[in-house]
């Protein structure tokens, strides 16, 4: 009897096996993703009544979050900072990925990628602290510029503000942006560049007409990978952001832990997630458009 004729018994056990296989990740997803998300969503519709939580459903938190200039400013600033971080990271990552993909000998590419990931050997916190050392009032950057006589007094706009947050995060997320762009560039058939040159285009116009459009899926992936986590980052703003560099995540933390207003914190978290979702959807849509012509 052939395997295909074993009948429904085999099919059932196969299905059972399938459920068994899926059970663990499913439980993981439910417990660690769905349950907390549901809880946050529920909390955001409750309200804090001094020490107790009023479980009557209300939109009060959302109304407050969207009308209070403090929250609105924080949400907007978070959006701007992560947009700046994303732009800076992707713009810096592209040339690096391009160089490794097009100008590094194939047998050395793996080593280059390995070198790019070296910063990850150190904890993120330590890397942030190192940026304090570099950007600080008496930091490496300022003392070097002073020593060279380029500036007369230390620059202060580079630490404890939004700029410092952007610089630190852009460095931290660089490999996350380099890798997807590198992969997208690697996938481009090299004969397409030759075909473009053969048809009369120079180096630069080949880049605009062939390389960049074909690398777009990688760029979009890089944008999403950098944008989504940075908008919710709270360690970096605390350490190098100063008062002007605070982001929405810091406020959410404050609401939960200091102000003892979990419902407000939950509402801010939901709003942030909604914002991320909107931006992500825009890019996913863009990616679809670029993927349209692919196999």
């Amino acid at each position: 009897m052939s395997d295909g004729n074993r009948g429904p018994g085999f099919g059932r056990s196969e299905a059972a096996q399938g459920y068994l296989l899926v059970a663990t990740p499913l439980a993981y997803a439910l417990l660690l993703l769905a349950a907390p998300l549901g809880a946050i969503l529920l909390f955001s519709f409750w309200s804090q009544d001094y020490l107790t939580i009023d479980t009557a459903l209300t939109l009060k938190n959302y109304r407050e979050a969207l009308s209070d200039p403090l929250y609105r400013q924080l949400l907007l600033r978070s959006l701007l900072i992560s947009a700046a971080v994303t732009t800076a990271t992707v713009l810096a990552a592209f040339p690096i990925a391009y160089y490794v993909s097009f100008h590094v000998a194939p047998e050395r590419k793996a080593m280059w990628i390995f070198l790019i990931t070296i910063p990850f050997w150190t904890s993120y916190l330590i890397r942030v602290f190192l940026w304090k050392v570099i950007l600080g009032y008496n930091g490496v950057f300022n003392t070097t510029l002073l020593g060279l006589g380029i500036i007369d007094e230390p620059l202060t706009f580079i630490l404890y503000n939004a700029n410092a947050v952007v610089i630190t995060l852009a460095h931290a997320y660089a490999p996350f942006a380099i890798l997807p762009i590198f992969v997208a560039l690697e996938k481009i058939d090299r004969s397409l560049h030759e075909a473009s040159q053969d048809l009369g285009e120079g180096y630069l116009s080949t880049f605009w007409r062939v390389t960049l459009p074909l690398a777009m899926p990688g760029v979009v992936a890089a944008v999403l990978i950098v944008f989504i986590p940075t908008i919710g980052d709270y360690v970096t703003p605390v350490l190098v952001g100063g008062p002007d560099g605070r982001m929405i995540a810091n406020m959410i933390q404050t609401q939960f832990l200091r102000l003892n207003n979990a419902p407000m914190g939950a509402a801010l978290a939901v709003l942030t997630m909604a914002m991320v979702t909107v931006v992500a959807l825009v890019f996913v849509f863009l990616n679809r458009r670029y993927l349209r012509g692919r196999q």
Partner: protein, 369 residues
């Protein structure tokens, strides 16, 4: 057949072209002239340098030494995008993010034509390759044969002086390949552009080309018309690469000014004229001679001929329907040779072990340089 293009001017001139990749010597002193309007093939096994030579002409590879002229202009330092050549890539290199029309019109951006003029030209080019009305399709929705046509239209739309084709038919199935061979030939006659085809398929080269350069190990072994290549290969290697050829041990002696006597193992002695000798031949060189399977025939019992006759035994045979290929060991020969016979009405297929009389001509003996 007389070559009618002998007088045509050269469109490409190669002078002692050398190419090294590090220590690897890819092209070793290539000199050749490719004539305006001819269908020229670079034929050879993989690794012989034929693709390197094509890419050198296209401008994707620099010359290590030597000179390359296209239409009288030295191409030294001229990048691929400024050369009057266009290429059909082996992978076709169709831009996956563009439509068929955008692919075909890719090179027209700098043409100075208006949008409408460009669209008309694209449609015309598509019609020429039999893809009229396909302009709006996405490139990835095309079949292999259609992709190749798009690649052709994209290259021909720029009216290059030379069209370079890098094994364009190797990715197609047999039927499509046969069809494209005929179509490419027709297209080439129609547009009158010089085509240079790289191929490892000797049959394809013979069918399509006006002239063929056979390459081995970075050198041109022979540059000739298909008929001359087949009938008078100058080296044993060329004879072996193109079609089927038997090689028989032989010794040559010069009898007088105009005649050479060749003693061929198994066939016997024959006198040949100097027209059968390749350039630079001298008698001591000849260790073996070549003879094509179809130039010999096996005689029926009782059949008479005024040709030379040798005797042997049928050792094996392969029946192809229209033809039968016999492996015949000649009496006194050390190795069987292949003889092909048309399966004519009333001529039975011989069996293994049959005694056979083989008729042959001294004129079909090939001596090598």
């Amino acid at each position: 057949m007389k070559d009618t293009r002998t007088e045509a001017r050269p469109i490409i001139t190669l002078e002692a072209v050398e190419k090294y990749y590090g220590d690897y010597h890819a092209l070793r002193g290539i000199s050749a002239e490719i004539r305006q309007g001819e269908f020229f093939s670079l034929l050879g096994p993989s690794g012989c340098g034929k693709t390197t030579l094509l890419r050198t002409i296209a401008g994707f590879e620099d010359l290590s030494a030597g000179r390359l002229f296209i239409d009288g202009q030295d191409m030294a330092g001229v990048p691929a995008n400024r050369r009057p050549t266009n290429m059909v890539f082996q992978s076709y290199a169709i831009f996956p993010h563009l439509s068929v029309a955008e692919n075909v019109g890719f090179g027209l951006r700098r043409s100075g034509l208006s949008r409408a003029e460009r669209a008309a030209k694209v449609e015309q080019a598509l019609a020429m390759v039999g893809l009229a009305g396909f302009g709006g399709r996405a490139a990835h929705a095309l079949s292999g044969g259609q992709r190749q046509r798009v690649a052709l239209a994209r290259a021909l739309i720029l009216e290059p002086k030379v069209l370079l084709l890098d094994e364009p038919l190797s990715a197609l199935d047999k039927k499509m390949r046969d069809q494209m061979q005929v179509e490419l030939r027709r297209l080439q006659r129609q547009v009158g552009i010089t085509f240079i085809l790289v191929t490892h398929d000797q049959e394809e080269a013979l069918i399509m080309s006006d002239r063929i350069a056979v390459m081995f190990e970075g050198q041109i072994a022979q540059l000739d018309t298909p008929q001359m290549l087949y009938r008078r290969p100058v080296t044993r290697q060329v004879g072996e690469f193109i079609g089927v050829m038997n090689f028989l041990p032989a010794r040559a002696t010069v009898t007088d000014e105009t005649h050479i006597e060749v003693d061929v193992s198994g066939l016997g002695r024959a006198v040949i004229g100097p027209d059968q000798l390749p350039g630079g031949w001298h008698p001591g060189q000849t260790q073996s001679v070549g003879i094509r399977p179809e130039t010999m025939s096996i005689l029926f019992p009782g059949e008479t001929t005024d040709r030379r006759v040798a005797t042997g035994t049928v050792e094996d045979l392969a029946y192809y329907g229209d033809m039968t290929y016999y492996e015949v060991r000649l009496d006194g020969g050390d190795r069987p040779m292949t003889i092909s016979m048309k399966n004519l009405v009333g001529r039975p297929v011989l069996e293994r072990g049959t005694e056979a009389r083989v008729a042959w001509d001294a004129r079909s003996l090939v001596l090598f340089a």
